[in-house]
């Protein structure tokens, strides 16, 4: 299994806020190099890729996620994978049976299975991206005013003829926001109703 990196406090020993550190490391990654100065003044130069890795690590720790140091080909037992993901072991087996991790390995002469750390982390990242997208959508449903719907047929026809689907995509996005708003409105109406009719 990859080596877990402890807490943010263990990783960051200076007074910079984590966001500031991440921003500096991202800048170094963009510049393509950065220099580490040891307490006795010695300088060690690194390529930008190392700065990018450090930025990822600090960002993960700062947002309460676990960070691991390991090669992409490191393998995990289902128990370790459950720990990394913060799910139960049976759930990992369920995901494996469903083919979520394409390269599950089986120990020779045994039924024990192993997962690639990289695939486990990919799955985690996909799930968290999805949560972040939902958070963003919920925020938009609070912020954006209600819109008047434009018929999908009209916009899709125009997209098919021009090859440009930007108006169609924008309408679908507005309807996505409307669906969220409609859910919240239904629950508020039920809360305020004197009789739910069940």
């Amino acid at each position: 299994m990859g080596q877990p990196i402890g807490s943010l406090e263990e990783a960051l020993l200076d007074s910079h806020a984590p966001e500031e550190t991440v921003a500096l490391l991202r800048l170094a990654a963009e510049k393509g190099e950065f220099c580490l100065v040891t307490p006795n003044g010695e300088e060690i130069r690194f390529g930008g890729v190392v700065a990018g890795m450090l930025a990822e690590m600090v960002e993960s720790l700062a947002t309460g996620q676990q960070a691991y140091l390991g090669s992409a080909s490191a393998v995990l037992s289902p128990e370790d994978a459950a720990q990394v993901l913060g799910v139960s072991r049976p759930y990992v087996y369920r995901l494996m049976d469903r083919g979520t991790f394409p390269h599950v390995q089986q120990d020779a002469g045994s039924t024990r299975r192993r997962l690639l750390l990289s695939e486990v982390l990919d799955y985690q990242a996909r799930r968290l991206r999805r949560v972040a997208a939902a958070d963003d959508l919920a925020e938009r449903s609070r912020r954006e005013p209600a819109h008047e719907e434009v018929p999908i047929a009209e916009l899709a026809r125009a997209a098919a003829r021009s090859g440009n689907a930007s108006e169609l995509k924008a309408e679908l996005a507005r309807r996505r926001v409307s669906r969220v708003r409609s859910g919240v409105a239904a629950s508020a109406a039920a809360r305020d109703a004197t009789n739910d009719g069940s």
């Binding site: 993901l85 913060g86 799910v87 139960s88 049976p90 759930y91 369920r94 985690q124 799930r127 968290l128 991206r129 999805r130 949560v131 997208a133 939902a134 958070d135 959508l137 919920a138 925020e139 449903s141 609070r142 999908i152 047929a153 916009l155 899709a156 026809r157 997209a159 098919a160 003829r161 090859g163 689907a165 169609l168 995509k169 679908l172 996005a173 309807r175 996505r176 669906r179 969220v180 708003r181 409609s182 859910g183 919240v184 239904a186 629950s187 508020a188 109406a189 039920a190 809360r191 305020d192 109703a193 739910d196 009719g197 069940s198």
Partner: protein, 238 residues
């Protein structure tokens, strides 16, 4: 057959000490993760209401029992046909929910409804671009070879079939009926927004007129007819 979906709010997941990674999954997907979730699926699949209303809680909820000490409450959103597990407690009583109700912390939040979305914005946008590019080829092929179903996994994701049936109607001559069918990947407890299928249909058939189109058609002229879970549009060409 019951049509409602079973979902778990983020607050209820937190009550069960289940983390972010579980957000947005259907209850069926989660049922092995906690006894109360198993009970939720077992007791609300057939009937979205319970038998015992939770006292002094708004909106009107129903108690959910499982092995002690866990208790939960569920609320049925009849407008959207979703039964929600909205809270859980290990305290063996329902007092917590009464307190939450006073703070309007029972009903699902915007985040919970946002979690219902099957596709992310990014994914949907990319999908639409691919459909715009692929749809003309599929429709042209089907129109050139009537009475044969032509299928394509549009954008590599939605198995779409186009079948053009030529009918001879006495007094009217020949009529072409175009059947567009979508077999969407089965994701337990999820629902594809109708807007999405609507967009694909009109990208495939931009020349159709609103009055010529029937949605949710119950049959298909291919041998074997309509398949389970299939969504079918019919365009009766003038």
């Amino acid at each position: 057959m019951p049509t409602h979906r079973l979902r778990v709010t983020r607050r209820a997941l937190a009550d069960l000490r289940l983390g972010k990674i579980y957000y947005g999954l259907s209850a069926e997907e989660l049922e092995d993760e906690h006894d109360l979730l198993g009970s939720f699926v077992k007791n609300r699949t057939e009937q979205p209401y319970g038998t015992q209303a939770t006292q002094r809680v708004r909106p009107k909820c129903f108690n959910l029992h499982t092995r002690d000490p866990w208790r939960g409450i569920t609320w049925y959103d009849a407008t959207h046909d979703i039964c929600w597990l909205v809270g859980a407690t290990s305290q063996h009583d329902y007092g917590l929910f009464e307190e939450r109700s006073l703070n309007d912390e029972i009903r699902p939040t915007a985040e919970d409804y946002a979690d219902l979305e099957l596709f992310s914005q990014e994914k949907e946008d990319a999908f639409i671009d691919l459909v715009v590019a692929q749809a003309p080829e599929l429709m042209a092929l089907a129109l050139s070879q009537p009475n044969t179903e032509h299928r394509m996994a549009l954008a590599g994701a939605v198995d779409t079939g186009v079948f053009v049936e030529v009918l001879v109607v006495p007094g009217e001559g020949t009529i072409e009926e175009v059947f567009v069918s979508f077999q969407l990947p089965p994701v337990p407890g999820t629902q594809v927004p109708s807007d999405f299928c609507e967009a694909i249909f009109w990208l495939l058939a931009p020349d159709a007129q609103e009055g010529e189109v029937d949605r949710d058609v119950g049959h298909h002229p291919r041998p074997g007819g309509k398949r389970p879970g299939e969504i079918i549009y019919r365009w009766r060409k003038a």
